[in-house]
Symmetry: C2
Subunit: 554 residues, 2 copies
């Protein structure tokens, strides 16, 4: 059979973008899904909550799916699972913390009866004709793994998200020996993350941040200390707890996701906390500033987050004072820069001392820089290389690094979501694409907001709306009432009465023109009203609101 | 008289923000205005074109205004002038290029008969009891100056925007000797820009970029070269022209503002171009790739700019090919990061080689870093220091640097827009504020879009709109026609017919409840429709569109 011994690699997300990672490894009639993440909407996706991958290919090929295997518990790797599970059932494999975080999510979505299977780094799981091995890596969330997927054509190595940290906070150093061994056995294809590929050198060790915390704590003995970071960065939280314990401070957690993740991590043994260190926020008032550290969400300046509420004086229990040191222990994710600046300035207005990344070494990335990427590529020695998890500029840079290391240009594949790379013993080539794209989630609606709706939202957001209402006699076409004009988001009504009066006259004139002949063509009449009013408003005020003519015929 | 010998400094823009710089220096009954800039709208200012300062204080005190004096020709220093001139007439003083660029602007706004007065660096102008001296500084636009305003209480030194460039492209090195002299004579107050205060060390010289251009040109002899930069960065454009002439390439200009600024700069002698170097874009086809350099606008990824149109294949005359080298010779202004990434990726999709700041030294800032700021503070030796042109985090950092240099904390003033600092021989203190704030410009409307309009636009942008139309009999309150439901930006109508049917039933029920008693209170009825429908839609789809009930009574 022609297709008998061929392997397909199909990314449904994570290519030409940062987020919603989802990659398929397909051998004969079996599919293994690696990760299933979401992404956050771009600026022009007005009103959208989250974006998930198009999985119509998976729905069509349900019976082929052997399992969903997870590298780690970040949103861009597990966030779309609840939405996908509503369409397809499948067994899910992941490390304890990854599944712990997933379970929280499933509960929120009221999804029971999911087939969850815990694996540990170093373990193998046979899934049909393929076999998946979880290999420990370092990253900004514990329990992160790369995956070595054994296929009859050799290994497919999926890097997951990783960095090389020789002095990690908990867990092991990335398992370089095992990665080298897999490389020795033969890797037919490697999918490699590209997040930090534009940065030279190495990413600093997480333990560097701990040193900075200790220095700041020792320099500010009398202040209350507030630290904002990602809830999922359990290592960072551990280091804050360590510093707090060193300096005899109690730790308060603030923000829903901070409480959830910390509880899960604590329960599963990923946090080491002395009895009595963590106190409930309700008991905070019993302690002096000098005895407290608050760990909070909101390091990205998210408008509804705990830190933003603190900054704007809207937090129910935490009031900022000039005796506060606020540490933003995170880098703004691209697109969040302005939100973070705003919160920073707002915190400073109250007089708090704000320490952020530009000023001090208060954050390190969880992703590998160029030298680390070279190291892994050199150990894995893949025949074919697929840079992943990045915008095109990242993918191209990662490709050029792989080329520098001796991988032939013809063996490096820049893939778009939906592209299908077919690999045989002999060669690798692109075959027909499968459907892929963004599915927009707005409230409970999945995929019911598309381009037309977004275009209307954009139009409304820029110049607002004018509704023209008029009642017309069925018998003679004469105006019975109206035209009335209602506007929203267009202009202060109080300041524009003259403009509105003139607009009404324009509509009357348009209606008058049609009056003589019998009106049968409502859409033409509506169009005339729209065009005449549009021309008038643009000439008067250079704005172009959405115009909705409503004609009632009595 | 009590107020007889007092000086006031009043910023109306540029404090707690980057942009719309406008500072008043008031002595007795005389006001000198320094700069009059605009700023671009923040993300939540939906549909707004530009933002200008509130000048009600100036309108109220028109007769006191002696002049508007300009430091340089950037938008955030001259951009609001056309709007302000529609309200107040006043003489304007500035250097030749500054006024040349202003004149272009005045023409666009069809403003004639403006009292423009050219001054050169080193010149003094007596304006009532005060006297203004223009002092040459380095910046990313030629003809930039600091201002030394001589008052009976000593000099007020306004830094303008500046850097210290010992090897500038044209013009002089910043006039450190004169600045030192002014410092020696006695500066009562200094207003200092803070844009780059968070960066350590020195800003590199503009001539560094020229070296990089030459290197890139010599490495890509056969490629066409496209360089995007700010139209106003005449030094940068000069260096591109120099490199083009070195390598025997013709230069094509693309983008309206690039053509305008270059024409003005050329006419005034700020550009040195050999005859025949500049060619019209229409003649571009006569030349090979290797003989061309295109200088274009769009370095900020602006959606309608020439570079964006090139990237998306929508430029009328420039088609991108894999033989193109595109250089983004600029840093994304905060807030523009995502737009710039998008254009970069799009350019790469066609196969062009894109060189941007992360990869190569292809841009330098026009603003002073910490060491330069220290130098100027040390030369000027002001009694009182007012950090300006920055968000609060910048102002505070600049203040702490000034303190490190020995200026007493009590002599450093962090000012908000509208604050009024009153300075006497004896002391300086805050007195009553004057009105200040953002005036939003949308189309031809100045200040007619406020919070209510913006709130409506935001609401519409997130969940769209539902209009409910119903005609009711005046006599018995029975429904004559409707309810009809029209939606925009809410949900695909095709996919939501059931939802709309249910919504109609909800409205009918609400109307039915009111049917029995006589309907006199329209606003209550409308409110009931709104509330019932809102509750229904949120429970069904977790969205909250704007609901506009329209009731016609016949």
């Amino acid at each position: 059979m022609k297709n008998s011994n061929k392997l397909k690699i199909i990314p449904l997300g994570g290519m030409y973008e940062v987020g919603k990672n989802l990659t398929l490894v397909e051998y004969r009639d079996e599919i293994i899904i690696v990760d299933c993440g979401l992404t956050f909407p771009e600026e022009e996706m007005l009103g959208i909550d989250v974006v998930i991958p198009d999985i119509s290919y998976l729905i069509k090929n349900q019976e082929k799916i052997k399992a969903l295997v997870l590298t780690h518990g970040h949103e861009d790797h597990i966030g779309a699972i609840p939405y996908i599970l509503k369409k397809i059932k499948m067994p899910i494999y992941g490390t304890p913390l990854t599944l712990g975080l997933l379970e929280n999510k499933l509960k929120e979505h009221k999804l029971g009866e999911v087939d969850l299977n815990v694996v540990h780094a170093g373990q193998n799981v046979k899934l049909g004709k393929m076999e998946v091995e979880w290999i420990s890596v370092n990253h900004s969330i514990p329990d992160s793994c790369a995956l070595a997927i054994k296929t009859p054509l050799g290994y497919v190595y999926h890097s997951g998200d990783f960095k090389v940290d020789y002095t990690p906070i908990s867990g092991e150093v990335i398992d370089l020996q095992r990665i080298a061994k897999i490389g020795e056995k033969g890797v037919i294809a490697m999918i490699g993350e590209s997040t930090n590929v534009l940065r030279e050198g190495y990413t600093m060790s997480e333990s560097k941040v701990g040193e900075t915390f200790n220095r700041i704590f020792s320099n500010h003995i009398t202040n209350r200390i507030i630290i904002a970071t990602f809830a999922s960065n359990v290592h960072r939280i551990q280091q804050i707890i360590n510093a707090a314990e060193n300096f005899n401070r109690k730790v308060v957690l603030s923000g829903r996701s901070m409480l959830n993740v910390t509880e899960t991590a604590n329960k599963l043994g990923y946090l080491k906390v002395k009895k009595g260190t963590l106190i409930d926020i309700k008991n905070m008032d019993k302690y002096d500033d000098k005895d407290l550290v608050i760990i909070t969400t909101g390091s990205q300046g998210e408008p509804m987050s705990a830190l933003t509420r603190i900054a704007y004086g809207e937090h129910r229990r935490i009031q900022l004072t000039p005796n506060d040191i606020v540490i933003l222990s995170a880098t703004p994710i691209p697109g969040n820069e302005m939100d973070v600046s705003k919160v920073t300035n707002k915190l400073m207005e109250v007089g708090a001392n704000v320490i952020y990344e530009t000023l001090t070494e208060i954050h390190v990335s969880g992703h590998a820089c160029q030298e680390e990427l070279k190291l892994i590529l050199s150990l894995v020695k893949p025949k074919y290389f697929i840079p992943a998890h990045g915008e095109l500029r990242h993918l191209l840079k990662h490709a050029s690094i792989a080329e520098d290391l001796g991988i032939g240009r013809e063996n490096i594949f820049i893939m778009e979501n939906g592209n299908c790379l077919e690999i045989s013993q002999k060669d690798a080539k692109f075959v027909s694409d499968v459907p892929a794209g963004n599915i927009l989630v707005d409230g409970l609606g999945i995929g019911d907001v598309g381009n037309i709706v977004l275009r209307d939202r954009k139009h409304l957001s820029e110049d607002g709306l004018i509704v023209v209402v008029v009642t017309i006699s069925k018998s003679d076409g004469k105006i019975i009432s109206g035209p009335d004009i209602i506007s929203r988001g267009f202009v202060y009504v109080r300041e524009s009465e003259d403009l509105m009066d003139e607009a009404r006259e324009i509509v009357k004139k348009t209606l008058g023109k049609c009056d003589s002949k019998s009106i049968t063509d409502w859409s033409t009449l509506k169009n005339n009203i729209r065009e005449d009013l549009k021309g008038f408003l643009f000439s008067k005020i250079k704005r172009n609101p959405m115009i909705l003519p409503i004609i009632m015929e009595i």
